[in-house]
Amino acid sequence: MVSAPALFGPIARDYERWAALLSFGQDPRWRATLVAGLDLPPGAHGGDGLRLSGCEFRSPRGVGIKHGLEGLPLLREQILRPGRMVGVETALHDPMLLKRLQPLRQQSGRESLQRARERAEFAQPAIEVADDQQHPAFPQDVQRSRDRTDLLRLVDPRHDWALSVQFIRSRLAIKVASTFLAIHFSQLPHHFPAMASSDYRALWLASGASAASMWAMIMARAWLALELSDSGVVVGAVTFAAMAPWTLAPLAGALADRWDRGRMMMGARVLQMALALILAWLVLSDGLALWHLVVFAAATGLAWTLERQVENALLPNTVDPGSLLNAITLITFANFGSRLVGPLVGLPLLTGLGRVGSS
């Protein structure tokens, strides 16, 4: 029995943690489905890496899905035994390996899978990689593997069959992607009942995107104001201009009770997009003045106020009453998440454009 931490090593542990967090604990199920998607021959056994290594890997034939190169040597040493078939999926991208696997890429489909099984030389690079633990470059390989997403299948040559790389890279990739998406969306309503409504999903995505753009805009506006004026007071004034329309929220709420809410929301967002476009054009053409910024801040704030009030009014119409709490918390989650994402994405862009660096 191999303990999971010993098997995966520090990088893989991080991966597992992130996978669990980002998939809301669904990653084992996804991986199991992914293994099932391989259409393994009879007797093969599937499961995620943790289960294969720790508990369930007892069948004579097995396939493990494993991310992370660092686990390979340990897998080979402690799990792979003659007579067992193990496919290891890793995030390795090695030019030499790719070159050697090139002939197999020409094949496709399940027939080619059978042919690929006969090509033992295919797996030789895997052994080289696996034995590379003592190689001085191994840590760098591991480091590189963290950043690469190309999926290859490395197969132990002692086993009687192999999987075609072409199969992995074409059909399986499509299958995996579609399975992930299908499971992802089919599981959403289970955990988040509000997501069962397509209208709510659209509203949620739109709200998240809109909030991200708003927070990026707030950040960019503040930097631009500082660049133009070099004064904290002016930055405060521009921010105030954006927030002042919030006092008109009751008026926006009354309008939301009078007109079609979907169209009002669309109008508010199109207006904000148009304003952002004009602002971008002014910045890129070096025609931006301070008064432009104040006017844009006020207009964007007005549209934002309208959008928020309309969204508040529309939200309960998109879900059944029992899912309302779920709907509200998910929208709040999207807004706060966007508050982090917008500036995180926007700041490097600003820096890249020299807007921050020059201030």
């Binding site: 753009s213 009751p250 709420g253 476009l277 994405v345």
Partner: protein, 287 residues
């Protein structure tokens, strides 16, 4: 980038198939109609003590525990001789806490828990401000910021869902905009006031003082105020009473209050029948 995100939001908005509008008749000029609608919103809130109560609690919460925006940079600078790094860490802490808190809350299914969680997150929000105000080291401040973010985001989401779950579609926009105005308005006033007060009062006191006051007030309210106690225990507003609005064609105005579903608050509702419902609903015409 902002344009790209806006384009995405427009794309997703275009996928909304739902058509929804409130019950405000649109024959009068826009400004007059909006003004009348606004008055209707106030009347609606005024006629419903439980909605009024929740909005008042939210106002207190925003006033006493959400004024940290102006105080945290001062705390970072004066309290810990820190710079923008510490302030940024606090802001990230608040944001991360909010993300985690709301995500956790999204797994809550039962409406009953809504009231209890409202109390718990309200108390936690006040306690987090006390924690932050008394924190001996930057690390503790950041931890306090995470708790603050989580508790406040959850509290606001819970209070909004309590109100939204009982509002009629016709008037939802008007009432929720009042809620937003009260929440945002009190917060803005307190941010300004506490920022000014920090010139004469130590910033730590401005953090833990109002936080503690909110904890005391909410605890007192939960113990002594019958309506608040009921909301906390049941996680739902109204308890059988409904506010009726005129049909859309008639302007969607607030006309009457109907007591149904086991109301025991009014004499006119009569004794409960064997089915646990009043024998006849009590209709109260509103002025």
């Amino acid at each position: 980038m902002s344009v790209g995100f806006y384009a995405l939001s427009v794309l997703f908005t275009s996928r909304l198939r739902l058509r929804s509008s409130g019950g405000l008749a649109g024959s009068a000029p826009l400004w007059r109609d909006a003004r009348r609608g606004l008055a209707e919103g106030f009347r609606y809130v005024g006629a419903n003590p439980q909605i009024r109560l929740v909005i008042a609690v939210v106002a207190l919460h925003c006033m006493l525990t959400e004024s940290h925006d102006a105080l945290l940079p001062i705390l970072a600078r004066d309290g810990f001789d820190g710079g923008s790094d510490l302030f940024a860490a606090m802001l990230i802490g608040i944001g991360s806490g909010a993300v985690v808190g709301t995500l956790g809350l999204s797994f809550v299914r039962s409406g009953v828990w809504r009231g209890r969680l409202l109390l718990a997150t309200g108390l936690l929000s006040g306690a987090a401000m006390v924690w932050t105000g008394l924190a001996p080291s930057p690390l503790w401040v950041v931890v306090g910021a995470v708790i603050t973010g989580a508790a406040q985001a959850m509290f606001m989401a819970l209070s909004a869902s309590l109100i939204q779950s009982v509002l009629a579609d016709q008037i939802r926009g008007r009432v929720m905009s009042l809620y937003a105005l009260v929440a945002g308005g009190t917060m803005a006033v307190m941010i300004f006031s506490s920022g000014s007060a920090s010139e004469v009062v130590p910033v730590r006191v401005l953090l833990w003082g109002p936080g503690l006051l909110f904890v005391v007030l909410l605890t007192g309210g939960a113990l002594l105020h019958a309506d608040l106690r009921r909301v906390i225990a049941r996680g739902v507003l109204y308890e059988g009473r409904e506010l009726k609005l005129a049909p859309v064609a008639a302007g969607g105005r607030l006309t009457e209050r109907v007591c149904v579903d086991g109301c025991r608050r009014h004499e006119a509702c009569g004794p409960e029948t064997g089915l646990g419902r009043p024998s006849r609903p009590n209709v109260v015409a509103l002025p």
